[in-house]
């Protein structure tokens, strides 16, 4: 990843591991991920429920600290390790040097306080500003995030605003102390498409104007395509693919990424085209699958993949593009070229099959699903 290697990264996460001690056992939610973001750049983290994307972000912000959480690795903000920081130091940095925008603005805002007062509070928690100055700055921030009639809305309660307006208030609050890093966790998921487009445009503009490093967490590949510079694809607590955004979509190299791309209805697909769902569902993190964690759902699985763990490695022809897959680079290139032209996963698999006999059948077969062993979501 270009930003990862850039010396100027403001946020650098190294081999982050997060596990929760639960009644059901140890849940390894994040299992050794690394990424970096430079000022003025956006890193998109894509994954489904349980991929660890939100836990990773919360841990960066120090929001998962608890006696039942085990964290390892390093989270460097301007070179300072946040995982080693004292609670007091963390409180000083959080909301000031790094801020976060959450998905659900209705529960993230205090229902009984006017929005202006909440923005002022965010400011006064970190620096000594007078009431008048704080209010003037709050108004300025509401105008910065393009809230119409900000002078009136500053005295509104959260429930009096629409979802899109509330999300703007949250962004204004996150910007109150001019953070160097902004983490946005599904900031537009609850919003209508037209409002989503406005909020994403706003985030892009603010990132450029303020030179922030942004981490955008989302399940939506379209949102990533329009907003991020670099992308990390997470699956079951690990990074399976990492690439500059253009390359990820032009030449994806991991079967899970292919699966996501083929599962999504899109406006530019040929009329009447079928979707190709990924069979099964994301695995349990209490008992993750052995070997490659995607193997129970992977159409290209081979016997070896059930035991050997893939390593995230740079591609020979593009070191910014990293993939954790046990297929060879040539096999993956061939398979994607076929898929991109409309081949089915079965056809692509046949084309890359080693001569030594048929590969074991893909996911959806008798392979017991991870987790509670339910009959899976395999299409009939």
């Amino acid at each position: 990843m270009s930003a990862a290697d850039a010396a100027g990264a403001v946020l650098r996460v190294e081999d982050l591991q997060v596990a929760f001690d639960t009644r059901d056992g140890l849940v390894q939610a994040v299992d050794g991920i690394s990424f970096a973001v430079a000022p003025g750049r956006t890193l998109g983290i894509v994954g489904e429920s349980g991929s660890g994307k939100t836990v990773a972000a919360m841990t960066v912000m120090g929001l998962t600290r608890s006696p039942r959480t085990r964290v390892a690795g390093r989270v460097l903000l301007d070179g300072e390790d946040l995982l080693a920081a004292s609670a007091e130091r963390l409180r000083a940095l959080r909301g000031a040097a790094a801020a976060m925008v959450f998905q659900d603005s209705l529960s993230a805002l205090h229902p009984l306080l006017r929005v202006g007062a909440q923005i002022e509070e965010a400011m006064r928690a970190h620096r000594d500003v007078g009431r008048t100055a704080a209010r003037a700055r709050a108004l300025e921030l509401l105008e910065l995030v393009a809230i119409p009639d900000a002078a009136r809305r500053i005295d509104a309660y959260p429930h009096e605003l629409s979802g899109g307006m509330r999300q703007r208030v949250m962004i204004a609050m996150a910007l109150a102390n001019e953070p160097r890093v902004l983490i946005a966790d599904e900031p537009t998921t609850a919003l209508d498409a037209t409002v989503q487009a406005q909020i994403l445009a706003l985030l892009r503009r603010l990132r450029d104007e303020l030179g922030m490093a942004m981490v955008l967490i989302t399940h939506d590949l379209g949102v990533v395509a329009e907003t991020a510079d670099d992308v990390v694809v997470m699956y079951a607590g690990r990074i399976v693919e990492q690439a500059p955004v253009g390359e990820l979509f032009a030449a994806p190299r991991h079967p899970y990424t292919w699966g996501l791309l083929r599962s999504m209805p899109r406006l530019d697909a040929p009329a009447g085209a079928d979707l190709v769902p990924i069979p099964g569902r994301p695995p349990s993190l209490v008992h993750p699958p052995s070997g490659c964690r995607f193997h129970p759902r992977c159409p290209y699985v081979r016997e070896r993949h059930r035991h050997v763990e893939p390593v995230l490695e740079p591609l020979a022809d593009g070191p910014a593009h990293r993939v954790a897959c046990l297929l060879s680079e040539a096999e993956r290139r061939t398979a994607w070229a076929l898929l991109a032209e409309g081949a089915t996963p079965e056809q692509a698999r046949a084309a890359i099959e080693p001569a030594g006999g048929p590969a074991p059948t893909a996911a959806g077969s008798t392979e017991p699903a991870a987790g509670d062993g339910a009959a899976e979501e395999a299409p009939a």
Partner: protein
Amino acid sequence: MTPPLAEVEQLVKRFPLTRGVLLRRRLGEVPAVDGVTLAVQEGESLGIVGETGSGKSTLARILLNLLEPTSGVVRYRGEDVTHARGARLAELRRERQMVFQDPAGSLNPRKTVGAAIADPFAIHGLLPERSERGRRVGELLEQVGLDAAQANRYPHELSGGMRQRVGIARAIALGPELLVADEPVSALDVSIQAQILTLLRELRRELGLTLVLIAHDLAVVRHMCDRVAVMHDGRLVEVAPVEELYRAPREAYTRELLAAVPRIPGPVPTGAAPAGAPPPAPDPAGGGAGGPQSSPPSSSSSST
């Protein structure tokens, strides 16, 4: 000419706007649906798209007599059913079913999946024989891609996608003619969405269902539907065959909605390869390519 399967004419639904909790004062009315006329033809798949507050869900509920309109007419097979009651309403419920967005919220947490699916039979006094009912429940579970053994499990033991399959099994239990699905996949993960959409498409084909799909996601509607109705502020903005609407939207609002959909760059890998014409492998240099398998595509076929 046969009448449409279902239609609404000059439909209006207003909700009272009140203030206060104990002394509810009526401040006025909000029109949720404001003069909509729309027909659903037998066998088609009609998408209704719109943003929050456009009235699309209210319209769907009125269409199924789950909500009474303020004014206007609801017809089913040409018959005015706006104020249907009693036995006639029960009959209509068998013929027209709904799939909801949140299967967790629409399934009773204290009932097993099997009991939830058997409910419709009990309510309508069908299949009184216990064993017969159990067998049918098993069939339905398999029809939606679950294992018959899942009947003994509770909703919380299932994933979101599996719960939505249960919701669908319940909806098709009585063999309805019309299925209305209100945002059936918007709460699910991307990879699971495709599974449920594919299931709905298969069931529609197998059972000859007429489908009304309510959704905010224009790509989902394009994938699933023959025709699309666009709603905005309780009114119908535009109705057109799906490819026409996406290629040449006539109304400014439709264009705005389409423009807001984030685009995914790169090749479009969806779509089955044309039968009998496997795409050539473009990379014969690939080391692992070209096993002498019986399946058609191989690296040596690049001559097409």
